[in-house]
């Protein structure tokens, strides 16, 4: 994924100027790092050089004169090509959480307390996200970002419970 593809995606709706693209990027992808304006400008120049966007005119609102960009046929084809590819499924087993849980289960006597504290921390974060979804005037972008985070935290919790049960089963098996 690249900033270029995201800007092209936003331009498929209608022509927009750089500031608008920055604002929409930050609003619709609230989980992502906000775009620096300089990065938007540099990316638009590169897209223009590659024939994926073209200058459609200028607008003057309250502030300075702004250049409006529109997506070209080539740009539209590029967005389609990008969306036809799948994102490689991430190898989550490399996460720091994974290592910590495995070590807690390996280090005798440490698992239960640690898992409970980790669960409490995860649930606290899930409560914050759930409350944010309930807030008045929440945008679809914010909902999608909160759902994404919630589902991942939920997956962590379910895996942690499965891991605990597996270790319990193993201990029972050894003892019997």
């Amino acid at each position: 994924m690249s900033t270029g593809h995201i800007l092209l995606g936003l331009l498929t709706e209608r022509p927009k100027h750089g500031y608008e693209l920055k604002r929409e990027h930050d609003e619709r992808l609230p989980g992502a790092r906000p775009l620096a304006y300089g990065q938007v400008y540099a990316t638009l120049q590169r897209l223009e050089r590659d024939g994926r966007v073209a200058v459609a005119g200028t607008v003057q609102e309250a502030g300075p004169e702004r250049t409006v960009y529109e997506i070209t046929e080539e740009g539209t084809a590029e967005v389609r090509r990008w969306l036809a590819e799948v994102e490689p499924p991430a190898p989550y087993v490399s996460s720091p959480l994974f290592s910590r849980v495995v070590m807690a289960l390996v280090a005798e006597g440490a698992a239960d307390t640690y898992l409970l504290r980790q669960r409490a921390a995860h649930l606290e974060r899930m409560r914050e996200l759930t409350a944010r979804k309930r807030a008045a005037g929440v945008s679809v972008g914010e909902l999608l970002a909160a759902d994404y985070a919630l589902h991942h935290l939920d997956a962590d919790l379910r895996w942690m419970e499965t891991a605990r049960q597996r270790i319990d089963d193993l201990i029972q098996e050894i003892r019997s």
Binding site: D112, R119, A120, M126, L150, E161, Q165
Partner: protein, 223 residues
């Protein structure tokens, strides 16, 4: 203020210990999720707290008085007047329409039919199910059934709402909608909510989680 309290509650089914000395307190206006793996005793705990079931030993207190030793008539009255209960596979009366089902607890409480119907229609409207008021349970989807069940649980403006897997088999968006309705209505009425769930995302709607494992609280009661 403590509204509900369990003191060393024990319950066994045959040789299976469902609850092994559970003690906890739930404050007035609080929303609490009871979670834990299958067979951990969470539904049994809910049944003991709501007076559906009596513990073998230990005590359950509600609003300052002991309720586990009340006779069946007194407990039934308590459940009708102060508690609202939503089950996963909610048993609506198949012969009655949605509005008649919702009005039922009010009729049991001795209210007139016309008044009960008006209140029931208002509750159905609150949960977005006014359009199915005249339908019978067999004609409703899972989400609609659950909304009707919630309207029925809320109809008496209960002080405590007990819910056992209230989102049941609904998909996540429909489940979330139903849960938001339940929690929103509970907050508006300043009701206390106790939800049993195995779903972490449902638990995240509550202020606090109580984790059960093998019939006992894990790590005490956590904030």
């Amino acid at each position: 203020m403590t509204l509900l309290e369990a003191r060393h509650v024990e319950k066994a089914f045959g040789r299976t210990h469902a609850l092994r000395g559970v003690s906890l307190t739930i404050e007035s206006g609080e929303t609490v999720a009871i979670t834990g793996p299958s067979g951990s005793g969470k539904s049994t705990l809910l049944h003991c707290l709501s007076g559906i079931m009596s513990p073998e030993s230990g005590e359950v207190h509600y609003a300052g008085r002991r309720i586990d030793d009340l006779d069946e008539t007194a407990r039934t009255r308590l459940r009708r007047e102060d508690f609202g209960i939503v089950f996963q596979l909610d048993r609506l009366v198949p012969e009655l329409t949605a509005v008649e089902n919702v009005a039922l607890p009010l009729l049991f409480a001795g209210r007139g039919r016309a008044e009960a119907t008006t209140v029931a229609l208002g509750r159905l409207d609150e949960v977005g199910a006014a359009d199915v008021a005249e339908s019978r349970p067999a004609e409703l989807s899972g989400g609609q059934l659950q909304r009707v069940a919630i309207a029925r649980a809320l109809v008496t403006t209960p002080k405590v709402i007990f819910a056992d897997e209230p989102t049941g088999a609904l998909d996540s968006v429909a489940g979330e909608r139903v849960l938001s309705l339940l929690m929103g209505a509970a907050r508006a009425n300043k009701a206390t909510v106790v939800i049993v769930t195995h779903d972490n995302q449902v638990a995240a709607h509550a202020d606090r989680e109580i984790v059960l494992r093998d019939g006992a609280l894990v790590g005490g009661v956590m904030a």
